[in-house]
Symmetry: C2
Subunit: 292 residues, 2 copies
């Protein structure tokens, strides 16, 4: 059994980007500039955005945090989005979700210039991804593909079962895994809440990608010997014995499933750390595409 | 066994549209106007486009055929596309594929205004489809969904195996079948040229959608009793005994598979006739959306 070490690989990727940015600077080129728009004071969102901004600084990107009050109107947020679209200094930006309830998220995401949409959430970018065109692949599925690639996990002709059909993980990873390419060329089954025979399916799977959000849902008796496990679930479970009052766990019963697996991502330290790395990668790509 | 009669259903749909168009006229509204751009003189393309234009006339749409010579430059074709984008008289239009080799198809399809892209080939429309947003679904997958709907075929929680990952059939139908909705909510496996255990998969399938283009590939011993069969394959097989010198056949060994099936589409007369009907439906939707 080998651990797919997202922490290690994400650090590698950040180091690679740091080198590229240093070279850009040496050549006198503009370095990548990521902006993040945060509306309101949701605790988790503050943490995520803060972490993204800190990562930018570490690797030499410029970054801008636009922190708007909770009561910002949809109109004002759209104005901000248009301003970012038209600002040549900004290579890419994200609008941190969720937005306050009085704002139509779809409307805001649709207003983001696809060429600056480093989250890859705009339908144009999603469609390009599905049609094998150059695009921004959203960070979580992009991170999974990169992990599989760097560990040279064989996916060709393998049967991959994806659990969960969310727009940001299950759906895109099911598409990417079945496309031509390496990793890719997998036979993909997309399972979800209406699936009736999930265990029957996971028992056939060479690769299971779980993006369900149910702690320790996937048990050892649901998978076969040698399976590859990608655990995208991240759930906080209340626990008074922990300093923070909770611990983080994935969709997979790691202790038992890992005994049968050939490769497995831990939680934390698997898919999670890859996400910020791939957002930075997308911002670098945005900068490079604007140069060309 | 019940035949999923695409010819009958497509005629029903055309009749429904005819009634709607007549009501539009009565209300003094502009009727839908479809334009088709054809470059060169490919025989099959001439037939398809001709048939689309005739269908428009029959149901009361306005239609325009723009027939450009084979040697049209990419630049001139793009000019034509921009003209159609900006012409308020045109509700929707198609650029008939394939285009001559000196023209970059992707560039041309990207230039089509997504709001007039009744073929649903633009990445923005594909992405919207995949993200459950209002869009134009391309005609073949849209036609399959409509057939399943009108025959009230139960898809919820069923295992659908799609064979073929093309951008215009396999990929989109695999997405649509697994989305929330009715039809939909199916557990979908997407199989393709790299799939190693196809027969094992099709034997588990409650629904098989084959979009492979290999005559009579799917045999009776590959499916289970009661299976629903959607045959998207349309292949011309040379045959001197036929007046045209060929006959049309699908991916499915119809005579034998139909004995085990609960529902099955014939070829011809199944998915094929639905395609033009759904193109017309999309043009009607385009007109209605422009009105709103």
């Amino acid at each position: 059994m080998e651990i797919l070490d997202g922490k290690k690989i994400s650090n590698q990727i950040k180091e690679e980007i740091t080198v590229e940015v240093a070279q850009m600077k040496e050549r006198g080129e503009k370095v990548p500039h990521l902006a993040a728009v945060l509306v309101g004071n949701d605790g988790a969102s503050l943490t995520y955005v803060g972490s993204k901004v800190r990562s930018c600084k570490k690797i030499g990107f410029e970054s801008t945090l636009i922190h708007l009050p909770e009561e910002t109107t949809e109109e004002d947020l759209l104005k901000q989005v248009h301003q970012l679209n038209n600002d040549p200094a900004i290579d890419g930006y994200i609008v941190q979700l969720p937005l306050p309830k009085h704002i139509d998220e779809e409307k805001v995401l649709m207003a983001v210039d696809p060429d600056k949409d480093v989250d890859g959430f705009h339908p144009t970018n999603f469609g390009k991804m599905a049609l094998d065109m150059e695009t921004f692949i959203s960070a979580t599925p992009f991170g999974i593909m990169e992990l599989l690639k760097r560990y040279n996990v064989d996916t060709e002709g393998k049967h991959t079962v994806v659990i969960g059909r969310s727009h940001i993980v299950g759906r895109p990873i099911s598409i990417l895994m079945s496309q031509k390419g390496k990793p890719g060329n997998s036979t993909v089954t997309l399972a979800h809440s209406r699936t009736q025979n999930l265990k029957e399916l996971t028992l056939q799977a060479d690769i299971v990608i779980s993006a369900l959000g149910v702690p320790r849902f996937l048990k050892a008796d649901m998978v076969k010997e040698g399976v590859v496990i990608i655990d995208v679930g991240i759930t906080r479970v209340a626990d008074d014995t922990k300093e923070k009052g909770y611990y983080i766990t994935g969709d997979v019963d790691f202790d038992n499933v890992s005994k049968k697996a050939s490769f497995i991502t831990p939680v934390p330290g698997g898919v999670g750390p890859m996400t910020i790395a791939m957002l930075l990668k997308n911002t670098l790509l945005a900068r490079e595409r604007h140069n060309n």
